[in-house]
Homo-oligomer: 396 residues x 2
């Protein structure tokens, strides 16, 4: 039978995430992958989490295995709110919900706010999972470029001047995906002013912020929010484990009221055992020390990759120099199509994320690509960067 | 600030699930709750699952804690497909995806298929989580009554004759929520014929079917599906644990292609540890024996509740007599508002689910209510039914 007229318009044109498709392909071969999106997996506290799971199910099994409330496991909400408070995130008018990863937090906000045709301002480049989520509600995406100190505010303001029904600005403020760039403090404050001026919201996504290996923390936009204009997303995916799927959203209770209903129909609640495991780990282990070690590791790996780039990449390729997180962004001379280089690289056993997958218009040629440095050993980083450098040289 | 003009139309009017709100309230008091929606929680294999989790994280931790693919953990998909095949569910053109509970499977189908204003035929009464999911995509709901042998086919056909853009018929075929009624074999075949005739799909939801305590299994509608017209939803929530949030969807690959993309933006994938735990349990324990024991327990509890109804309820209240599952449906004389009785009952320490929450039009008075018999001890069933019977007598 023919299904095309039975599918919803909102998802007809949606493409599967190229990154996830790459990921599937990689599982099947011996490729050196710089396409990953997680910190070094050997650092995830697997053994501790195993003991914790056993303990919870032994002592508290009935509670862990029945339905929980949609908002999340109360002791975990408390932990998140405490940790938020240390960053001055979350006011009396805000509430926190535990989500099945930060991806779900972003998707719930999209569903709760976006009518078909509404606009979202996104960074160029940005996180493909968020772009696809907004697309899945038939939103129009407007791009503002990521400069050395973050999103271009003039471009943001120009979009807000000319376009109607822009519901929110989506920004990954710290160690941005895919660039590794951090939005400067000054621009954070100005972005909030702009959002106020044009009465739109800000979706501040901060899954990487805790993985800082250099420099000082920059205050969250949410910390300056005195009226509930900023929705703040965080995650345990980059600190404890991505496979656990535990993230959170903190936003004004009037928005949360709708987000909770949307989550109810989505997955009822985030698996309770997973929420209890995160809670137990943070309560009984030194989570901040664990994050510190993870961040240090990110720093070492980042240095190794930058070193490889210096040794093997052509001079005309410029790279960002992040203070934390897990990504580097590489820019080649104008006109070069990194989508084509990607195909060649995969043939030679190297994977990265082509720039076009991180753009609102994925059909436009991109001269950029994303590198991840955390899931590969130092030796493999060197080996992979050498091979990649040789390939890049063929194109410049 | 004012948020109302920033919220999406699709969720503005959506109400929080009354059942989940009741559930929240119940957590705070010593109420006897017949409002539950799970089998006896003491039967969930908590200790075994604890050992399993520990074992997985000890031996296979890195794998369990990183990202998985959106479609699900391959060994679990294999198990589901094998178990499906025993019921003749799943043809060459079908694929299976693991979802974060059956609720997510329903929601993904809604998002993949429903344009705003599209129609869905639902049973009256039906499962509130599904109704709310369809509402959240601004679908129009058309009701066909549940008779003694399941959904009224004449009403289904009348709707399809007069309404355009009906995308699918949503039916809970076995031990229906909230009635406990099973759609007869004859009507299953006819419903598929009707769907063919009017070119719409069927969403067959079967989370309770394995909890049969009497009689013979009835073949799934999906087992007669020779062209991919039926989307089949199942769950481990009622057999292993609802809090784990592991369910699945089996449907034609052309629909699945869109469902996978929608799930990618939704939660990337269902938590890997949870999928691995279900896999390990089924591979290493006697899952079918466990289900058999659970079903027997359901049968004992059901008998105790029917016994209580016989002893304490007024004669004018009629009850269904299910062959499995976890729900009874009670019908009072016309004109009585069980919403009002509910408030009175909660005051006296008894909870049930008022009928109106299970209807497409939740503002219409309902003379029905749903009882769950599995989460309360036999003594409490008797005590609760006695109190409830006294309250009901005041209204007839």
């Amino acid at each position: 039978m023919e299904y095309s007229n039975l599918l919803s318009e909102r998802v007809k044109s949606l493409k599967a995430s190229a990154i996830r498709e790459i990921f599937k392909m990689l599982g099947k071969s011996n490729i050196i992958s710089f396409a990953g999106g997680i910190p070094s997996p050997e650092l995830f506290p697997a053994k501790e989490l195993g003991k914790i799971a056993d303990g919870i199910l032994e002592k508290n099994g009935a509670k862990a295995l029945i339905y929980g409330i949609t908002e999340g496991y109360a002791p975990l909400i408390e932990i998140v709110e405490k940790r938020n408070a240390q960053k001055n995130v979350g006011k009396d008018f805000d509430q926190t919900i535990i989500t099945t990863g930060a991806q779900q937090a972003i998707d719930l906000v999209g569903k709760a706010l976006l009518n078909e045709g509404d606009g979202v301002i996104v960074e160029a480049p940005s996180f493909i999972g968020a772009l696809n989520s907004f697309r899945s509600y038939n939103a129009r995406l407007f791009e503002a470029e990521v400069k050395e100190d973050g999103i271009d505010l003039e471009q943001v303001e120009n979009i807000l001047k000319t376009e109607k029904n822009i519901k929110f600005i989506y920004t990954i403020t710290t160690f941005q995906n895919p660039t590794g760039i951090t939005l400067s403090l000054e621009k954070r404050k100005k972005l909030l002013e702009i959002a106020k001026k044009y009465n739109c919201l800000i979706l501040e996504d901060n899954p990487y912020g805790e993985l800082r290996f250099r420099g000082e923390d920059v205050a969250a936009i949410k910390s300056f929010d005195d009226e509930g204009r900023v929705m703040y997303v965080g995650s345990f995916s980059k600190t404890l484990s991505p496979g656990m799927r535990v993230g959170f959203l903190t936003c004004h209770k009037d928005i949360m009221d709708r987000v909770v209903v949307v989550k109810q129909v989505n997955d009822v609640h985030t698996p309770l055992l997973n929420q209890m495991m995160v809670t137990d780990y943070i309560n009984n282990y030194d989570f901040d020390e664990h994050i510190k070690i993870s961040a240090q590791k990110c720093g070492e790996k980042c240095a190794a990759m930058l070193d490889g780039a210096k040794k093997y990449f052509p001079d005309s390729v410029s790279l960002t120099n992040p203070d934390g997180g897990i990504f580097l962004w590489c820019t080649m001379p104008e006109g070069i199509d990194t989508g084509k280089i990607f195909e060649k690289a995969v043939e030679k056993g190297i994977a990265f994320v082509p720039g076009r997958t991180c753009m609102a218009d994925i059909d436009k040629v991109s001269n950029c690509f994303r590198l991840n440095y955390t899931t590969v050993s130092n030796e493999k980083i060197d080996e992979g960067m050498k091979i990649l450098g040789e390939i890049l040289k063929e194109y410049v």
